[in-house]
């Protein structure tokens, strides 16, 4: 498989501050990579270097085999991007905006098809300036993909969107990735990575702290969790083994366990004896968010970890 992104020993310094520090990774064609990290982790700085907006202090970048700082028209026609903030002329209609960008590419999506893809066919004649934030973001996405890019950079594409708008955006990205487009996505949303990405890179303090699949990252998150909401209960009312897991508000027992069968059996036996309602019993694997926080927390100095 050919590499769409090649990054080796990439660093970016702003004065004394190392925003990106010796980052290396390779993304094969067709892979969807989620880049996670707390504020200040270096996600956007990395992405801006990959897009060719920022020059690295040191290191090597090749996007589709080309240094992005030297990419010409033909290279730019193969690369799509959605910037962190909306970047549209508010005076134009959605259709006018798409027509304008369509004219730039050798084999663009027809505007009519792209309007369907982003679910804005009914707003084609609406001025961009009066669209909702979610709709504007989808027009941004449309511009990013209108040239049928081989690689798409998405910088926090759903930040600030309501849940429905986020899901519509995800659907549009999924349709694109089914066609084999390589995607590099930065986000704060763990569920976005869980839904879209084949692979997750976690940055913290400008360095890669984890580079793995969402499933493996979740497995790194520690034990599974059992949670049973209970009525007000005192420690004395619980068997010693369960008493240790009573939460601070004394209204739930939360067990993080590596021996699911034994702990679950003991909890159910106790609840059955007390006639506790088991309808709200939750049993699950460690969440990706737990795993992410574990990964970030382990690698960051205390003050940065607190910010994360």
């Amino acid at each position: 498989m050919t590499e769409a992104v090649f990054v080796e020993h990439l660093s970016k310094r702003f004065g004394e501050l190392a925003a990106v520090d010796d980052v290396s990774f390779v993304v094969p064609e067709g892979q969807v990579v989620g880049v996670l990290g707390p504020n200040g982790a270096g996600k956007t700085t990395t992405l801006e270097m990959l897009e060719g907006f920022l020059a690295p202090t040191s290191g090597t970048i090749r996007i589709l085999g080309t240094d992005p700082r030297r990419g010409g028209r033909a290279w730019r026609a193969r690369v799509g991007l959605v910037l962190q903030s909306t970047s549209l002329d508010p005076e134009l209609t959605v259709r006018q905006t798409l027509d304008l960008y369509t004219a730039l590419y050798p084999r663009p999506w027809p505007a009519r098809e792209i309007l369907k893809l982003i679910d804005l066919a009914n707003d084609a004649q609406t001025r961009v300036g009066v669209l909702s934030g979610g709709q504007r973001r989808r027009v941004d996405l449309a511009i990013g993909i209108i040239g049928r890019p081989e690689i798409l950079f998405l910088d926090e594409p759903t930040t600030g969107l309501d849940p429905e708008a986020r899901r519509r955006t995800w659907t549009a990205v999924e349709r694109l990735t089914q066609a084999g487009t390589t995607v590099l996505l930065t986000t704060h949303y763990i569920d976005e990575v869980d839904r879209l990405a084949d692979r997750v890179i976690v940055l913290a303090g400008g360095r890669v702290v984890t580079d793995t699949t969402p499933r493996q990252l979740r497995a790194q998150g520690g034990p599974a969790t059992i949670r049973l909401p209970v009525g007000p209960v005192t420690v004395a009312e619980l068997p010693p083994k369960l008493a240790a897991h009573l939460d601070a508000d004394h209204d739930a027992i939360v067990i993080r366990t590596t021996d699911m069968a034994a702990d679950l059996g003991e909890l159910i036996a106790w609840a059955d004896a007390r006639d506790e309602n088991l309808a709200d019993l939750e049993v699950g694997p460690p969440s990706l968010e737990d795993a992410y926080l574990t990964a970030v927390g382990e690698r960051l100095p205390p003050e940065a970890s607190a910010d994360a």
Binding site: F14, G15, T45, F53, S87, G147
Partner: protein
């Protein structure tokens, strides 16, 4: 890697440039406030300065130059900074559109709209006050307006690189604009020192106003346009363009590099 033999060719630059000029001109002209300032204000000044249903040709030329320069300098400059700070220029820079094409289209569109703003004031002079206008005079004025608009739009492009926020764009542009206009006598004659008058002849307002007046009151047998004025205006256009290629910024200003890195998400 795509095979060059099978990769579709990129669209030709000429049609892209025309599309971009149309798009930029439409954006500039579609803004109601811009039209109000570039056309309404000069016409209002023309009406308020008239006496007994008469205005001089130089007054018509002066107000037309006022409208033209307001559009080519202030409105265009502020809109360029606004587009840059909104990330619109950065977005365009990332597309396969040649950067020179986008850059040229912005200036050409501004020239078109500015010339229309100047022409509207001249038309108001003809309609409201019967200002005499020959075909030769109109063509001469058109040439002057085109070169004059470029002489203001190109330096405005260069200056936008030094403007860091949309809030400061208007004040900075006006701070340069009004002194130049006043010492050049575009808004009316001023008593000024000889050296100041000499200086004004090297700035882009006085030669523009003088050349426009000469064109509008052209008499048969006389030279249509003053060559020196056009040379000064051309020098501003070319010089401004040269500086703009160095100073023009595509990306929004970062607050400071250090703070930007800390705020990096």
């Amino acid at each position: 890697m795509p095979d060059p033999a099978t990769t579709p060719r990129l669209p030709a630059v000429g049609p892209l440039l025309l599309t971009q000029v149309g798009y930029q001109a439409r954006l500039l002209a579609a803004n109601g406030r811009a039209v109000m300032i570039g056309v309404g204000l000069p016409v209002l000044l023309l009406i308020s300065s008239s006496s007994h249903s008469h205005v001089s040709v130089s007054a018509v030329a002066g107000r037309a130059v006022f409208g033209l320069t307001l559009t080519a300098w202030n409105i265009y400059g502020v809109r360029t900074v606004a587009a840059r700070e909104a990330g619109i220029l950065k977005r365009w820079r990332a597309t396969p559109l040649p950067r020179s094409c986008y850059f040229a289209a912005r200036i050409l569109a501004t020239v078109v709209v500015s010339v229309l703003a100047g022409a509207a004031t001249v038309a108001a002079g003809v309609v409201l006050y019967g200002t005499h206008l020959t075909v030769t005079g109109a063509l001469g004025a058109l040439i002057v307006f085109v070169i004059g608009a470029a002489a203001w739009a190109a330096p405005a492009t260069a200056l936008t690189g030094a403007v860091s926020t949309i809030d400061s764009a208007g004040p900075i542009l006006l701070l340069v604009y009004f002194p130049v206009l006043v010492i050049s006598g575009v808004l009316g004659s001023v008593s000024e020192a000889h050296w100041l008058h000499t200086l004004a002849t090297y700035l882009p307002a006085e030669p523009l106003s003088h050349a426009a007046t000469s064109a509008l009151q052209h008499a048969p047998g006389a030279p249509l346009l003053p060559a020196r004025d056009l040379l000064v205006l051309a020098a501003w256009a070319i010089g401004g363009l040269a500086v703009a290629t160095v100073t023009f910024r595509w990306e929004p200003h970062r607050p400071t590099q250090r703070r930007a890195a800390r705020a990096d998400a």
